[in-house]
C-alpha cells in the first residue's frame, strides 16, 4: 500500500509538470489553431538553457527563469517565422502538422551537436523530506507543485480578469470577428506565443528536475503525455488541460507502480486512444472560455 501512496506523491509532481506543459500546448491550439508538435523540443531546449545557467553556479530556481525566457523567445520566433507565414498562405491543418514535425526534427538535431548525446542533470538541493500520511516528498518536489499551482492560478486570472485574457478568448472563438471588433489579433497572437512559450520553458525545467536526467531525446517523450492530457481535457481548453493533467499524471504513476515504470507512456497513449474513441471532444465539451477551433 505504501507503494501506491508513494506513487500518488509522484503522481502529484507528474500532474504539476504535465499541467504546466499541457496548458501552454492547448492554448497554442485553442487560440492560434496550431498543433505544435515541436512543443516537446522547445521544452528540451529550455531545459538545457536552464542547465547551462545552473552549471554556471546559479540556483536552479533562478535558472528556471532562463528556461522560461528561452521557451518564450524560441516559441515566439517559431510562430513568427515559420507557423504564421504558412498559416497565412492557407496551408491546411495537416500541412501545418507536417511543418511542425519538420521543425521538431530540426530543433532536436541542431541541439545534438551542441549538447551531445549523453544525458545531463541539474544541480538541485532537494531540501528536507516532508512526510504526511505516507506521502514522502522533498521540499524541492513540493516547490514544483507550488510553482504549478501558482502558474495555473495566474493563467486563470489572466483569462478571466484581464483585458488581454478577454482578447485571447475572443481571438480563440472567432478571429475575424475579434479583428472586426478592434482587437489587435496579430499582437494578441504574439503575446500568446510568448506566454505559452514561457510555460513551455518552465515545464521543460521542472520536467528535467523531476527526472534523474534528461537528454535531447526527452523532447519526443514529453510530447506524448502532453497530447494525452490536452486531448483528454478537450483540445484548446486550458481548464480541460489542467484536469487532463491531473488524470494522466495520477493514472500513469499508479500504473507505473502496479505494472512497470517503462510502460508509463504506453498507459498515457492507451488513455489517449480511449478518449479519442469514446469522447473525442474531451471532458470539457462545452465551448467554454476558449472554444476548441475546428
Amino acid at each position: 500500500m505504501d507503494l501506491y501512496v508513494a506513487a500518488l506523491g509522484f503522481g502529484l509532481i507528474s500532474v504539476s509538470v504535465i499541467a504546466i506543459a499541457a496548458v501552454g500546448f492547448t492554448m497554442q491550439f485553442g487560440i492560434t489553431n496550431m498543433i505544435n508538435l515541436a512543443y516537446g523540443e522547445v521544452m528540451m531546449v529550455s531545459g538545457y538553457a536552464a542547465f547551462y545557467v545552473n552549471r554556471a553556479g546559479v540556483n536552479i530556481w533562478i535558472a528556471m527563469f532562463a528556461g522560461a525566457l528561452a521557451g518564450a523567445v524560441l516559441s515566439f520566433l517559431l510562430n513568427r517565422f515559420l507557423y504564421a507565414p504558412f498559416q497565412r498562405k492557407g496551408t491546411n491543418l495537416i500541412g501545418m502538422v507536417i511543418v511542425s514535425l519538420a521543425a521538431s526534427l530540426m530543433i532536436a538535431n541542431l541541439m545534438l551537436p551542441i549538447v551531445g548525446y549523453y544525458t545531463s542533470s541539474y544541480v538541485v538541493d532537494q531540501g528536507p523530506l516532508l512526510r504526511s500520511n505516507g506521502l514522502v516528498l522533498t521540499t524541492a518536489q513540493i516547490a514544483i507543485i507550488a510553482v504549478a499551482v501558482i502558474l495555473m492560478l495566474a493563467i486563470h486570472g489572466l483569462l478571466r480578469y484581464t483585458r488581454l485574457g478577454k482578447a485571447m478568448r475572443a481571438t480563440a472563438a472567432n478571429p475575424t470577428l475579434a479583428r472586426n471588433c478592434g482587437i489587435p489579433t496579430q499582437r494578441v497572437i504574439d503575446v500568446v506565443w510568448l506566454i505559452t512559450g514561457a510555460l513551455c520553458g518552465v515545464a521543460g525545467v521542472v520536467a528535467g528536475m523531476n527526472s534523474e536526467n534528461f537528454a535531447v531525446s526527452s523532447g519526443a517523450s514529453y510530447l506524448i503525455t502532453i497530447i494525452a492530457a490536452a486531448v483528454l481535457g478537450g483540445a484548446g481548453q486550458p481548464y480541460g488541460a489542467m484536469i487532463g493533467a491531473l488524470i494522466i499524471g495520477i493514472v500513469t504513476e499508479l500504473s507505473a507502480a502496479a505494472i512497470a515504470p517503462e510502460y508509463k507512456e504506453v498507459v498515457a497513449f492507451a488513455m489517449l486512444v480511449l478518449v479519442m474513441v469514446l469522447r473525442p471532444q474531451g471532458l470539457l465539451a462545452k465551448r467554454g472560455a476558449l472554444a476548441a477551433a475546428g
Binding site: 507536417i98 519538420a102 526534427l105 497530447i227 486531448v231 517503462e262 504506453v266 486512444v273 479519442m276 474513441v277
Partner: protein
C-alpha cells in the same frame, strides 16, 4: 565503382521505392496521413527475420526472440508482407474508423513512438533494444552471402518486387478506384454523398499499404541482416513523407522520384562530404544530425515553394476531349 556499393545502392533504392509507392497510395492518393508508416516496414522486417532465422538458442543463444522457424525463401518475404497487412487491420479499425481525421494523424504518430518503446522494453519478444542480428538472407545457405554473386542475386530478387509493386500501384492509381480515392481525398463528405464508403476505402488502402510496407521491411532485413528499434524510430516515417512531398504526391512517378532523391540521393550526397574540411574534423555524429536538419529544411522548403513536388499529379485528359488534339494522351505512370 565498387560492385558491393552499387548493389547496396540498388537494394536500398528498391526498398525505398517500394515504401514510397505504398505511402503515396495512402497519403498522396487517399489522403491518409499515416505518420506510423515505419512500423509496417518494421513488422515486415521482424516477421521475415523470425521466419527465416534458426531458434534463438542457436549461435550461442545470445538473442531472445519468438519464432525461429528457419523457413526458406520466399516464405519470409511473403510472411513479412502479410504481417504488414495484418498489423494494418487493428490499427486501421481503431484509428480510421473511430477517430476524427485530425486526431488520426496524431494517434498514428504516437502509436509509432509507443510501439518502438514497447518492443525495446519487452526483451524476450524481439530481443529488445539490441534487436535481432544474423538474419539469414534468401538462399544464403546456398550462395555465400559475402560473395559478389550474392549481391547480384539480391538485386535480382529485389527488382521484380519493385516491378510488381509498381504494377499494383499503377493499376490502382489509374483506375476508376484510384479516381474515387482521390475524390475522397479532395472532399470526403462530397464523395460520401455520391455513394462512396470512405471507411471501407481507407481500410482497404491502409491494408494494401501495410502489405507493401511489410514487404519492403522483409527485403531490407534479408540484406542488412540486422533489425533493431533504432532502425525504425518515428523520424524514418518523416523521411518517407519528405520523399513523397518532394517527388510529388498523388502519382507513382513522383513517389519513385522522391525515393531516389531523398532517402537514396540524400544519403549518398552526404557520403561525399570529406572526413576533414580544411583540417577541421567534424565530430562523429555531426553529419547524421545535419542530414536530419537538411531533411526538415527540404520538407519546409518544398511545402513553401513547390508543394506539388518535382513531378506533380498529372491532369488527366481523356481521349476524344477538346483538348486531346493539342495534348497527347497523358501517360500516367
Amino acid at each position: 565503382m565498387n560492385s558491393y556499393y552499387a548493389a547496396t545502392l540498388l537494394v536500398y533504392a528498391g526498398v525505398d521505392i517500394i515504401a514510397c509507392l505504398a505511402l503515396n497510395l495512402q497519403f498522396g492518393i487517399s489522403g491518409i496521413v499515416n505518420f506510423s508508416f515505419i512500423i509496417f516496414q518494421a513488422v515486415g522486417a521482424y516477421a521475415a527475420a523470425i521466419l527465416s532465422m534458426p531458434p534463438d538458442t542457436a549461435n550461442g543463444g545470445y538473442q531472445v526472440y519468438v519464432g525461429g522457424l528457419q523457413l526458406p525463401f520466399p516464405i519470409p518475404w511473403i510472411g513479412g508482407a502479410l504481417a504488414g497487412g495484418l498489423l494494418a487491420i487493428p490499427v486501421g479499425l481503431v484509428v480510421l474508423r473511430k477517430l476524427r481525421s485530425d486526431y488520426q494523424a496524431i494517434a498514428l504518430l504516437v502509436l509509432s513512438v509507443i510501439a518502438n518503446s514497447v518492443i525495446t522494453n519487452a526483451r524476450p519478444f524481439l530481443n529488445g533494444a539490441a534487436g535481432i542480428a544474423q538474419v539469414p538472407g534468401p538462399f544464403s545457405d546456398q550462395v555465400d552471402p559475402l560473395s559478389q554473386s550474392y549481391q547480384l542475386l539480391y538485386v535480382g530478387l529485389t527488382f521484380p518486387c519493385v516491378l510488381l509493386v509498381w504494377l499494383i500501384a499503377s493499376r490502382i492509381v489509374n483506375s476508376p478506384y484510384g479516381r474515387s480515392l482521390r475524390a475522397m481525398r479532395d472532399h470526403e463528405v462530397a464523395a460520401t454523398a455520391l455513394g462512396k464508403n470512405p471507411v471501407q476505402m481507407k481500410m482497404t488502402i491502409f491494408i494494401v499499404g501495410g502489405i507493401i510496407g511489410g514487404l519492403s521491411g522483409a527485403i531490407l532485413v534479408g540484406y542488412i541482416a540486422v533489425w533493431a528499434p533504432s532502425e525504425w524510430l518515428y523520424p524514418e516515417t518523416i523521411i518517407l513523407f519528405a520523399a513523397v512531398i518532394v517527388g510529388g504526391r498523388g502519382n507513382n512517378v513522383g513517389a519513385i522520384l522522391g525515393a531516389l532523391l531523398v532517402p537514396v540521393g540524400f544519403e549518398e550526397a552526404t557520403r561525399l562530404i570529406p572526413a576533414t574540411i580544411g583540417g577541421w574534423v567534424p565530430p562523429p555524429n555531426l553529419i547524421p544530425a545535419m542530414q536530419w536538419v537538411a531533411i526538415g529544411l527540404l520538407i519546409i522548403g518544398f511545402l513553401w515553394f513547390r508543394p506539388q513536388g518535382v513531378r506533380p499529379e498529372p491532369r488527366r485528359v481523356f481521349e476524344g476531349s477538346p483538348e486531346a488534339e493539342e495534348v497527347d494522351r497523358v501517360r500516367t505512370a
